[in-house]
Structures are given as C-alpha cells and as structure tokens.
Subunit: 547 residues, 2 copies
C-alpha cells in the first residue's frame, strides 16, 4: 500500500532552504531509495516516491512558509538538473501503474501553475546541468526557465527517439501552447535525442535566459527576486504547521477526522463520505489562523486529497466512487462564508487553493463519480462542489416528511471561488451554453432546495422518492459497475470538459490519451518494444503500420 504523507525530516530526495522571499528546492535523488525494488534512481531520475516528496514540499512551502513568493527548482548533483522519470521503473511497470504515475506527476506540475496563476507563488527552473525528458517538463511547469550556458548542458525531450513513447507530463502541450515554440521547431526538438544548448534553446523559446556558470546563480537570484515582487504572498507572516493526518486504514477502508472511505470490493465500489464541521467556522482571519491546520476546510481538504490519491493508487479495481456528505448544512455554509469573506488573507487563499486542486483531482480521475444526496446529507456550498464534480447526482425526495428531506444549497463558493481544470466554475461548465439556467441558479443561492426544486433547477440528475430510492441507487451502482472500465474512462474524459479547453484539460484530455494509447502498444511495451528494451543494447522491433 502506497501512502502519500511525508515529513521534511524524512525526505530522501529533496532539500528545502528558505532565504527571504525565495525558497530553493534542490533535487538530489538518493539512487538507492526507489519506492520499489529493482531499479536505481540514477542521474537524478525520479519515481513516484520522489514525486510524493515533491508534492509534500510544495504543500509545505504554500502553508508553512507564507513569506516565500518564488520557488527555485534546481539540481543537487554535479552538472545534472534531472533526467526525468526513471526508465527502468517505467519499463517494469504495468500499464495502469504508468498511467497513474503520470497522472499524479502531471497534477503536481499543474499545481505549480495553479499556485502561480491564482495565488502568486512563482517558480523558476534553475537548469544547472543536464535536463532531459521529465526533468525538462518540471522546468516547463515553472514561470521561467533559466539555463547554464557552459557549451555542454542541453535541454531535451528524448522520449520519442529513445523510448518510443511521448513525454508523459505535459511536455508536448507546454512546448507549443505555453512556451509558444513554433510547431516545426517543436517537432525537431521532440524527435531528437541530442537536445538543444542554451543559445538555440533561447532562440527557439525553450528557455527564457541563460548565463555562464560563474554568472548563473546571480541570474537566478535576480529573476527569482523580480518574480517575487508584486506577489500577494505576505512578507512577514508566520506559517501554519501541517501536522500529521489523523488516518487509520484497514481492509474496510480509510478513516480520517472528517472523511471516511469505505471499500466494497465485491461490488467494485468505494464510498467517500465527507462530514461537515461539528460547529460553525470562525469568521475572522485571526480566529481562522489560530485554528491552523485544524480549520475544517483545510483539514478536510488534506484528508480528501490523501483519500483520492490512495484510492487511485491502491484500489484500481474500484471503478465507482460514491460521494456522500453528512452533518449540519449550516456549518458547511458557515465555512463557505469564512472562505469567501477572508479570501484575501494568505492562509485562507492557500486553503482555497488546496480545495481547488483537490476537487480538480476528481475531474481527472479515471473513476465514475456518483453523488448520492440522501437523508442527513449536507451538499451545500463547498460540499455541493462534490456533486458538481460528479458524473451524476441522485437525490432523495421525501414528500411526506419535508423537515427530514435532504436539501442542497448554493452559495458564493459555487460561483467562481473554486474553478475546475477547465478554468471555469463547475456550475458554468454544467450549464455550458445555457447562461439563463446559470443565472437562475445564481438567483437561488442561499435558498435550500429539495429534490424537486434541485431537479427543476438542473442541479441534480435524478430525484427519487422514498419508495424507489433504494432500488434506484442499487441499480445505478450495479449498472455502472458492469460496464467496460476502459470505455468509461474515455467517456468520462470526453463528457467532463465541454467547451473551451485549457492547458490542463489539453494535457489530461489530449496528451494523456495519446500517451495511454502509445503505452499500450507493442511498439513501446511489447517484448521487443522500445521502452521495454531500453538499456539492454538490443534494438527495438517496430510494426511500421501507421494507425
């Protein structure tokens, strides 16, 4: 069982140092400390374990070091930035492992761009040595790429010529979409194993600037400080310590303080229940700050994040995630009011950021998501985002006992505070092409809606009365669990993102789909495929048919 919690004292692969507004995160991989046996993490290459520490370090910078406005990413070995994902690890992995690994690493890199865009935490890649494949893709996720010009260091995306696969963490998309490298030059770059030195890299737009070795650290310092200027991150705030998660795990599932995951393996289903806080949220920034990592929106988001990652990695056969909530509606709305009112405070802003990134994980998870809005639930405001992230929402209608009937409530949180990976609020995406319905929903904000009202407003998929409810839900679960897992993955990835695309939806929807296809083809992963044979000295054997 893979776990995703780490503590800085236990990092094996990263060093974090903070100096004023600038943090430096140095990748210095312990080649003996791979997550699984069978490979060495040579040349500063990474596996899931290295990336889990990376994810943890970024999270701690956001919360524990609020004074940091720029993060410099650099390599800790001699003339070596990062060689990308470890190829022997990839070659030995199952299809599912590779795809899940790429998803998590993509999310971490997207998370850097998310923090840069929404929260003013900027990133500089200080490419102080060889930078290949996934290494260059880490750099691509930064706001600026600076490179040492020593006449030997190159940046490269050699996956295609060396391994017969695509760069797996957004490289192709970011080269043309973000860095705006002309597409024929991108084609040259991505089909050559040799890479590009500083002068040409700058000319093509692959990097922003370069300097000779003796001037490099000064260039990095200058750019890092320039990026920090104007950041809304505070200059003199104390951080919030992220304590260990309250978490127990057994055969039945995972239990946290506010989140519970129950596993039903025979029916290939996991139920994720999020509980509302037991009391109303503090409303002032001071009180919220004083609550620290125990503040419900933060504590719940951390638990939910951990639960999603754990399910994706450890329970691939549970294809249906049922999303439930439990507890007093009013306390969720109270938390939403606190989030909206204090969004300018760094701690609240970062909590919103974590909620945003956590909810975004649902949208790119290859699992069917059903929200079940039953008695005692609290799908209100922030927690209604769970229903909006779901592929379907079922809601119980209790005609005979109006007081006990579940309700949903929209609040300010639903109208732009937590955009999805497509850059829009989930309500906007839901009502894509129907601005009048969106407007009508806005007018209902704050009003509890029962199942009939929610159905009329287009906010739930199915409303079912007491007599039918159990059968309705049971049949819906059974039916979903009977369908082809692969076809569902493709379906969900297509239906979840109507309308305009973003870099992130393109990375997950277009690039990852092609990568998954390539990963699954004998030319890459067959016994004589290029990925499989890498390093063996044997030449790959290709079926030359273009498909």
């Amino acid at each position: 069982m893979i776990t995703f919690e780490r503590r800085p004292d236990d990092y094996r692969h990263w060093r974090l140092t903070v100096e004023g507004r600038v943090a430096t995160l140095t990748l210095d991989v312990d080649e003996e400390a791979g997550l699984a046996p069978g490979y060495k993490l040579k040349l500063n290459s990474y596996d899931l374990g290295v990336d889990i520490e990376f994810h943890d370090a970024l999270q701690r910078i956001r919360f524990e070091h609020p004074e940091v406005a720029t993060v410099v990413l650099t390599g800790g070995k001699d003339r070596m930035f990062c060689a990308g994902a470890n190829i022997y690890m990839l070659g030995a992995s199952t299809h599912g492992w590779k795809v899940n690994f790429c998803k998590f690493t993509n999310e971490t890199r997207n998370g850097m761009e998310d923090s840069s865009r929404y929260d003013g935490l900027k990133f500089v890649a200080a490419v102080n040595g060889a930078c290949a494949g996934g290494g260059y893709e880490i750099a691509l996720a930064c706001d600026e790429i600076l490179m040492v010009d020593d006449r030997s260091t190159v940046v490269s995306l050699p996956e295609l010529p060396l391994l017969g696969v695509l760069p797996g963490t957004g490289g192709l998309t970011r080269v043309v979409d973000k860095r705006k490298v002309r597409r024929d030059l991108a084609d040259l770059f991505c089909t050559s194993a040799d890479g590009v030195r500083a002068d040409r890299a700058k000319q093509w737009g692959l990097i922003d600037d370069a300097a000779t070795p003796n001037r490099f650290s000064e260039l990095v310092r200058q750019r890092a400080e320039a990026l920090a200027e104007g950041s809304p991150r505070p200059t003199d705030a104390q951080g919030i310590r992220l304590g260990p998660l309250e978490r127990t795990a057994d055969e039945a599932g995972l239990r946290y303080g506010h989140v519970e995951v129950s596993l039903d393996r025979s029916n290939r289903r996991a139920t994720i229940t999020v509980r509302s806080p037991a009391s109303p949220s503090p409303q002032s920034a001071e009180e919220i700050f004083a609550a620290g990592d125990a503040w419900w929106p933060l504590a719940m988001a951390r638990e939910l994040d951990d639960a999603i990652l754990s399910l994706r990695t450890n329970e691939p056969a549970l294809g249906l995630w049922v999303l439930k909530t439990e507890g007093p509606v009013e306390n969720v709305l109270s938390a939403g009011r606190a989030l909206a009112a204090n969004r300018a405070h760094w701690f609240v802003r970062e909590t919103i950021g974590l909620l945003r990134r956590t909810l975004a994980r649902f949208e790119v998870s290859s699992r069917s998501l059903y929200a079940v809005i039953g008695q005692g639930s609290c799908f209100a405001g922030l927690l209604f985002e769970l229903a909006l992230a779901a592929d379907r929402a079922y809601m119980l209608s209790l005609l005979d006992d109006e007081d006990a009937a579940p309700v949903i409530v929209l609040d300010e949180v639903n109208f732009g505070l937590l955009p999805g990976v497509d850059g829009r609020s989930r309500l906007e995406t839901r009502f894509f092409g129907h601005p009048g319905v969106l407007e009508a929903a806005r007018e209902r904000a704050g009003q509890p809606m029962d199942a009939e009202a929610a159905l009329r407003a287009g906010l739930v998929t199915i409303a079912s009365d007491e007599l039918d409810w159990d059968d309705e839900i049971r049949l819906a679960f059974e039916e979903r669990a009977s369908l082809s897992p692969d076809a569902l993955t493709g379906l969900e990835a297509s239906l979840r993102f109507p309308g305009a695309e973003t870099l992130q939806t393109k990375v997950f929807g277009r690039l990852s789909a092609w990568q998954n296809w390539v990963f699954n083809r004998p030319n890459a992963t067959g016994e004589r495929g290029a990925l499989k044979l890498f390093g063996s000295g044997a030449k790959p054997h290709f079926d030359w048919e273009r498909v």
Copy 2:
C-alpha cells in the same frame, strides 16, 4: 486496393433526389453489398463502402446541384434511420482499419459542418425510425435533428454498454459541445443501450423537434425550407459536372493530371508532387465556370483528396509523406488571385471549400509530413499551404545561382481563405503567440523569398545549401522513418494544434485518442472483449482495473 471514386448511377446504398432548394439523401443500405466479405449490412448499418458513397454524394450536391441549400438525410427502410457502423465488420477489422475507417467517416461528418458554416449548405436529419450509434452521429453532424414521435422510435449511443467502446464519430463531443446537453444527462444517455424517445430527447437537447408520423414529413419540409432561406447557394445556377478522375495506379504509385504519388516501400516513404497549372488561370467567374471540373484548383484538389485517401487506406506502412511541388510559380499565384477575387461566386466558393477540406485531411493524417522546397518548385500561395500543413519544411539555398534558386511566395490565400481544422489560417497557427511575426509575414506577401529570407521570416524549418542538401534531406527522411510510428502519431496530434481548440480538433485530438486506446484494449478487442463477442451470446470478460 480500396478506391474512393464513385458515380451516382452505381450507388448501392444511397438515393439522391432534388426538389427545388432541398435535396433528400436517403440511406437504403444493400445488406449484401459490403465492401469486404464476411458480414451483412443489416439494419441500415454502414461500412467504409457505404461512407465512400456518402462522401461522393455530398461532393456532387455541392458542385452538381448548386441550387440545393438544404440536404435532408433520412432512412429508406421501414422505421429505420440508421443503426451506425456495422459491428461485425468492426469486430473482424484490424486496429488500423478501425481507426482509419473512423477517421474517414469523421471527416465526412465534419465536412457537413464545414459546408454549413462556410458555404451555407445546411443539413437536416429526418430521423424517421431507429437511430443508433453512428446513425445518431450522422444526425449530430446536421444543423437540425427532427425525429418522428411514434412512441417507439429512439435515438441512442449504445456503443459503451453494448460494445465496450466509444461512439467513434464525434458523438460524445457533439452531444456536450455542439448540442450542449448537460453533462450528467449526456452520461445517462451514453451509458444506456435503451435510447431516448422523442419527448425526452427534445427536453434534453438531443433533438430539435419531433412530430407524429402523419405530420413528420411536413415538419421536415418546413424546417428544410426555413434553413434554405438566406443561404448564399444560388437559386438558379447550373451545376458543374464532376467527371471521372484521370488516374492510373501501379506498383510505383498513382498518377493523376496534376498530382503524382511515388511509393518507396523499402524506405517507408511516399512522395506527393503537385504540379502547378501549365498556364495562368482564367480570372473572370464566367471563364472559370466555363472551365468546369478542368479548372486547376478544383481538378488538383480532387486528385489530391483521392491521393490522400488512397495512401491512408492502402499504404499504412508508408509513414512519411514528402510534399513537393513543380512548375511555374506565377501560374499558382494566378490561380490564387482567381480564387480570392471570385470567392463570392458559388463555384469558386465550393472549390475553396474542397481545397479547405482536402488540406485539412493532412492535419489529421497519422503520417509525418515533410515539405521539400527544391529547384523547380512552386510553393506559392495556395501551394504554400502544403508547406504550412507539414510538420517541417526543408528549403534549398542556391547562393551561386540566384535565378535558379527556389522561392516561396505568400498571397491572399494564405491569410484566411483556407482555415485548418482549428478554424484559423495555417499561418496564424504557425505563429501562435507571435502576432508580430505574423504581421511581418503579411507585409512580405507577394514578394518572392529565397531560403535565407524564408528562414528569417520563420516560414521554413531548415535552409540548406547545395553542398549539404542531398545529405540533409536523405538523413531527415531516414531518421523519421526509423522512429516509432505510434509515438509519432501521438506527437504530431499534439504539436499540430496549439492554442484554442474547436469541435473538430476535439473530435480528432481528444475523442479519437481515447477511442484508439479503447480499441486497442483487451476489454474491447481481446478474444473475450465486448466488441469481439457482440452477437455471439457470450458475455464479455473485463479486466476491472481502471486505468
């Protein structure tokens, strides 16, 4: 060897009737006339042969029936519109065949939307009976979907529940992106084999209107005539007859009047050479019309279209297409002037439309495209679009003999007359994010540029002098031909479409990628996969892991 030319007299599956402004194209599949042995085309299902006739019929409506402003698509069998692609054909096909089949059918449906958007030819689906899968996807490509309300007819996308695959011709994308069906309702629709009757279909946005059987033809007539109003298609013009293509084919390749394809199987390469017209183009609409299907832009486009389709279907192992041109530059520019000046004339507009759709085929072809701009070439205006469609362009620099040195020329055709599948001119896409470079190119329009000038302007990838030219080209070809065909397909599909996406790029880039992955997975096509076992009575066996 599959050929793509058809004549209406020989249609086996379609009937075309024209009445005033409205053409009716009736699908009445001859179940015994499948393109390959081994399956019957029951229930008005289609295979590639049915779709080739469809493509031909649309082409003839555009050119031979200019008075037609609306095409009604309907079914010719009792209470049967179309059951989609033939499942037994799909189950028995190779991966490559399925993907290529879906590509061509997608292009034909996209071509309907292309004609509707740019040229005012509108489409109405008259769903007069069962309409499933690819049948409903034909309807989705129409401007309006009308459905008979007889309490039994349904529309459905049953691919996922019945076959474990995705709807393969844009269904998922069009349901949410074009028809703007709410995504949870789309999820219900696409996971149910039962389909949806008229009342609910209208409520969800799956159709535009419905009528009882005795009022249905009147509804169709009304809507077809309403759509025809305001169409720029002429009311009283004579058509242009599309005569048979001049085409010879042998082991060495394909030869047409203006296009030649030479096959180099040992090097896995095809060279497509387009010759400029032997004389300047007529410049008045009358003269152009008098030239008819011999007018070079039309004749060349038809030949190029046929060549692309033939190569894709018959020569899958030729992974590199080298694009060349030959002849006097001035005559290409003359044709471009005629196109631009007379674009309001229906015949010229339709010729531009065919050029637009033909060039768009390059962008979605899973082949590497290298333009080679050598001596005697004429990459000017319209033919420079070939270089812009290519993944790379190599250009010869002849420093010692300026008069013989090849030049490129931009003209009005390059600045918006022929948008690609992403809806922008190829120059805009090339210079995505660099408006200044685009503007500079515009200022150079009309001026011949040699290799150095073209390189400086960002219009070619590599300029090479006489001494290096042969080696440069040879190495470039060899290197490309040595790379993994699958990885190249994924790479090209990612790099060719920077920036904003359109329905078409989403269909090809996102949906097709997922479909290709699903097609390649044992859950669909393994010995116990759902697609393979369909109709056998045996239940599919799924690996339940979600990837």
